[in-house]
Symmetry: C2
Subunit: 672 residues, 2 copies
């Protein structure tokens, strides 16, 4: 349908959609940067979605039972901001639109969930929004089963572009959605045939509809500019039995001279182009001005869900006090009161029995205590359940016939898993954790970064955390991964040494409200190193004195995880030779760095040789050691300098020199 | 077909296939670890492939025109080792099979390309082998067009498992292969319905045949145990016009009590199970023993391609001296002699004109000089061609109608691009480089790691390397990525400051034979910092004195890339205040670390305050600074401590305090 016919046949719709387009043109021009074409192309779909289908209340953007809207093609962020402004979200007055992409504004270049309640999620790295939408829809299914449809019953809508569909994570996501028959998930594909480099056909000739159908989706299509056709497709999609994919045929940068070209993807800032485009739209208002009747119509859309929201408030209020309190606790991401006592019980038991277990098994023991008292947890693994030790007996399996199940078989999809966990955490009401081998943190790295950036307290259970993995060899042995994870802002990387430290790490991870955690866990058995019970969570200090020197302190050994055992053995040998040696366990470098300087100095005082021991690369440890700069100093590192190898684990530790003997020799050499 | 029928109907085939199965059972039992089920399930397919189709010469495993065989399901490595041993590869006597997964053997837990010529590629991280196969097949198409079918004309065969197909990278790979109509690529899917967690249907219900067809593949299927049916499918696949996908219905751990179960995926080590299985096979030889007739039959297969190889040797010898020398130079990964002079010309021109350009543009200027004299380069970008500045005018576009084109539009597929580049580098004869935004190094991280592990000199062109990217905001601004990349063993991370340094970095990257390189390049314009021409490659030293202190040296500023400008301005201000200040440019920390201590001390002598400046996290810099350990010291860091934000770049540098003013203030504070 051409613009003229659209204007004539659907005049009210046209004005509303053009309000989105005009704000996009104005904001991008003011910022002199941004992406105009996507909001201009998808304005009709978004208008119909918001006017006819989305259940939301612009004045209560964080209402838990709202429909979710995810713009996976996050570069088209002006679509989100225009919708928030037009529908009357109080955080988005016109000044926010005027300050698009400026310091301190809520209208960042890509949507950022932490800047405003009305922004469901950060998007921009392509494919992530689609994959998080799958997590949102999984959360909705899970919570609907737990709380009943009176409390949770909504749709998740996602707009995805060609980029989202080309990124590999999309396949992991659509496979998960198909397998779990997520009928409340509706993905609208902005099928405009254009990428940055040119036509999509330059790089891709995939039949996307056939691809989604192959993954078990119900597939629809529509003219993405015809409001009646869009409405028909959305109505059909909502009634589908599986997840729904709507191929919306659109024109990027509709109505401009850049329409249907890759130029239209980016910032349209030319004054004449903008004027001509607005003229083609029949849009005569000044920049950043919306005609009163159009604004009023949009605000009515924003208020459309207010009654539904109030009715929901009443239904929530009608719950028993206990149930309501539980709902609020879980949605506010507060840990339950019983968590602390459950952890304490594990710790007490541990110092009594001193079990020699791998920390991945220790993690399972903690989960066996935690999962029963923390029903908001939802666990899973990327097809390594038995190795990651992530499934406890009480969880049940989440699938279409048991939506109450709390364990997800994610398949061999680390990236899809991590993104789904982000979606679940964004939804609220659930505490997702998921496992894989630590080396395959690589596969989910883009989603891990989003957990940190978005402040999502997702827990990553990364087992087989070093060459201790043994025979599988260097492709499966993390070496640089602790450094990579520690370098990421707003992450806590725990590498516990035994069951007690593992319990304490889980307690912190499950108490976090805005920070994701990594648990780096051993494949191999490790001795208990904490001999006395204390209610205090020592891991919360990041590093602490595990064993003190008996005589004059000449050496401090700092270690994490499986190498704490090495440090303790080295200490024994050094002490036997009359060399006073302190052992510092450092399960979380980030938390140690957050302690005050006095504490850090107490744990790591001057005047002794220091050696850090960790079966990974040195990077990250230099902060606590004398590096090149302190050449006069006496510090050392026992760890890896390159990739691992395939052999039994004990042999590898020997060959790579990560042993107590090597540590003792280094200490003596440094003491001179 | 049941085992009994197979034995009776195809007795010769059966014995050959069971030789693979028996060696697998024996090796896994001896190692007490490994994966038995996959080689047992795919032994029939592999036997038919090697006997009837693969063109190779076991005595000349690195013959450039051999068919390639990639085991994407790398955990089934015993399939590869059994084939190499049985066909008579001189590097794989039976001792190697006996030492499966042991220190120093070539038979690592997963195949490692650097351990033996006969191992085409490292695999194990699932999906990588499939995606590298696409690169191998692209290289074959490209080289066939360049050299003619008499010199390069072969197939790439790949065995992929369910895990490979669930990993997202598989979608990127099959999309690329479909678009490029790679008719010499044949993927055999080990369709056994089993993953580690149980049945595939627990986590996936994708119709894989429909999915591949949707991506433009020709789809076939066969009974993966019936040699006649396998042969029929392979014959048809070779004749296909597009890439071919053969769904091979198989039984994991065929013939054992673990058949068709997830138990069968792992190590079958129970003595009775092994004895019973061999009995079912009718296999009566002792462990690690192959009946002479069976070994002879396999060795005949190994010798089958010797004539073809000899004929090829003659065709190569018949080339003109110049052409043959060029072929050998390109396949040996030697840079052409003209590279050095091309780089020198760029450098000379640069110090004359002192252009103020972004280093991404500088990189393009270097490529404009390099690509014409280095026809083995093959460039590309993951849909950011204009931003990554990776396409020079002379390249032409690689696609089905122009196989000689040297530029690949990879689409929005960073992971698929990186894996394809690994495949091209593995093939030999090409020098792949490819671009994306540096932040999206995350998306290709598993393949980057493989470049390093496999010793592949792939060049990653990562532009927009800091908050200097500006308005797109924190999802697009790398912060921890330099640390992540530097932490990876066997990588060179270059962050050049201007055109001269960019040219020198490219020279090193293109001269490398066994190390991948990252070029971290700015979006924003940067002033020229190298004022005098020298033929010497200063970047090769990693770090060097760019500007010396005029008076007494009180401060040393160390910076990389865009922050060298900040350091130079800060030096000017400090010198104006009488504070002697040296500026060290540190474009490659790895190369600096490789210099001898005397040089490092010369560049970074004691006795002055040091400040490192880089718009990323501090991790990695501590080695050259006094960290916590040197509390008495006086060193500082000017950089990022968290994620970035959306705003114009200049504002971001101001807000995050990465300025010359902040540097000057820090220096003065540290001087006290």
């Amino acid at each position: 349908m051409d613009i003229q016919s659209l204007r004539e046949q659907h005049p009210d719709h046209w004005k509303k959609a053009c309000a989105i387009r005009a704000l996009t043109l104005d904001a991008v021009a003011a910022a002199n940067s941004g992406h105009s074409g996507m909001p201009m192309g998808m304005a009709d779909v978004a208008t119909v979605l918001y006017e006819k289908h989305m259940v939301f209340d612009a004045r209560s953007p964080d209402w838990p039972n709202r429909d979710r809207f995810v713009l996976s093609a996050g570069h088209g962020s002006m679509l989100v901001y225009a919708l928030l402004h037009l529908t009357g979200d109080p955080e988005f007055p016109i000044e926010q639109i005027r300050n698009f992409r400026q310091w301190g504004s809520k209208t960042a270049g890509h949507p950022e969930n932490f800047l405003a309640k009305g922004i469901e999620t950060t998007t921009g790295p392509l494919g992530q929004g689609l994959a998080m939408s799958v997590g949102l829809a999984m959360a909705e299914e899970s919570l609907r089963a737990r709380w009943g449809a009176k409390i949770i019953d909504h749709y998740t809508y996602c707009i995805a572009g060609d980029g989202c569909l080309m990124e590999g994570v999309s396949q992991e996501a659509i496979g998960l959605a198909g397998r779990h028959e997520l009928s409340h998930l509706i993905v609208m594909w902005d099928n405009n045939g254009i990428t940055i480099d040119g036509k999509v056909s330059l790089s891709d000739r995939t039949d996307q509809k056939a691809r989604f159908a192959a993954a078990g989706w119900d597939v629809f299509e529509c003219d993405g500019h015809d409001p009646a056709d869009i409405d028909r497709a959305l109505t059909a999609a909502k009634a589908s039995k599986g997840p729904a994919f709507i191929a919306c045929t659109t024109h990027i940068a509709l109505g401009s001279s850049a329409q249907d070209t890759s130029k239209g993807h980016g910032a349209l800032t030319d004054a004449k182009l903008i004027a001509d485009t607005k003229a083609a739209y029949g849009w005569t208002s000044a920049a950043f001005e919306i005609p009163a009747d159009v604004k009023k119509a949009w605000e009515a859309i924003g208020a459309r869900g207010a009654e539904a929201r109030k009715a929901w408030d009443e239904r929530l209020a009608a719950l028993s006090d206990g149930k309501r309190a539980l709902f609020q606790q879980q949605f506010s991401c507060e840990p339950p009161k019983k968590l602390a006592s459950a952890i304490r019980a594990v710790k007490k038991d541990a110092v009594e029995k001193m079990p020699k277990v791998a920390t991945r098994r220790a993690s399972e023991m903690v989960l066996e205590a935690v999962n029963p008292v923390m029903p908001e947890t939802i666990g899973g693994s990327a097809d390594l359940t038995g190795s990651n030790n992530t499934k406890t007996a009480d969880l049940g399996v989440f699938d279409p016939i048991n939506r109450k199940g709390r364990y997800v078989y994610y398949g061999i999809r680390e990236h899809g898993m991590a993104a789904a966990m982000n979606g679940m955490a964004l939804h609220g009401g659930l505490r997702p954790y998921g496992g894989t081998f630590m080396c395959f943190a690589d596969y989910c790295r883009p989603a891990i970064r989003l957990s940190a950036l978005m402040h999502m307290p997702v827990v990553y259970v990364f087992t087989h955390d070093s060459i201790g993995l043994g025979e599988d060899g260097p492709t499966h042995q993390p070496v640089e991964h602790l450094a990579m994870l520690r370098a990421t802002p707003n992450m806590m990387v725990f590498r516990p040494a035994d069951l007690v430290e593992t319990a304490e790490a889980w307690e912190i991870a499950l108490g976090a409200k805005a920070t994701p955690s990594v648990l780096a866990l051993s494949r191999q058995n490790l001795p208990a190193v904490r001999k006395n019970h204390t209610n205090k969570n020592l891991v919360a200090q990041g590093g602490y004195v595990l064993e003190e020197a008996t005589g004059k302190r000449q050496v401090i050994l700092i270690a994490s995880g499986s190498e704490v055992e090495v440090a303790l053995k080295a200490r024994e040998a050094l002490e036997a030779d009359g060399i006073g040696t302190r052992v510092v366990s450092m399960p979380c470098m980030e938390l140690f760095a957050q302690q005050d300087e006095a504490y850090r100095r107490k744990v790591l005082p001057a005047g002794a040789v220091r050696i850090a021991i960790e079966a990974g690369v040195r990077m990250g440890w230099d902060r606590w050691l004398l590096g090149e700069r302190g050449r006069e100093g006496k510090d050392g590192f026992v760890g890896m300098t390159g990739f691992g190898a395939s052999a039994p684990a004990e042999r590898l530790f020997q060959e790579f020199g990560i042993t107590y003997e090597a540590t003792v020799a280094k200490a003596k050499a440094l003491l001179g």
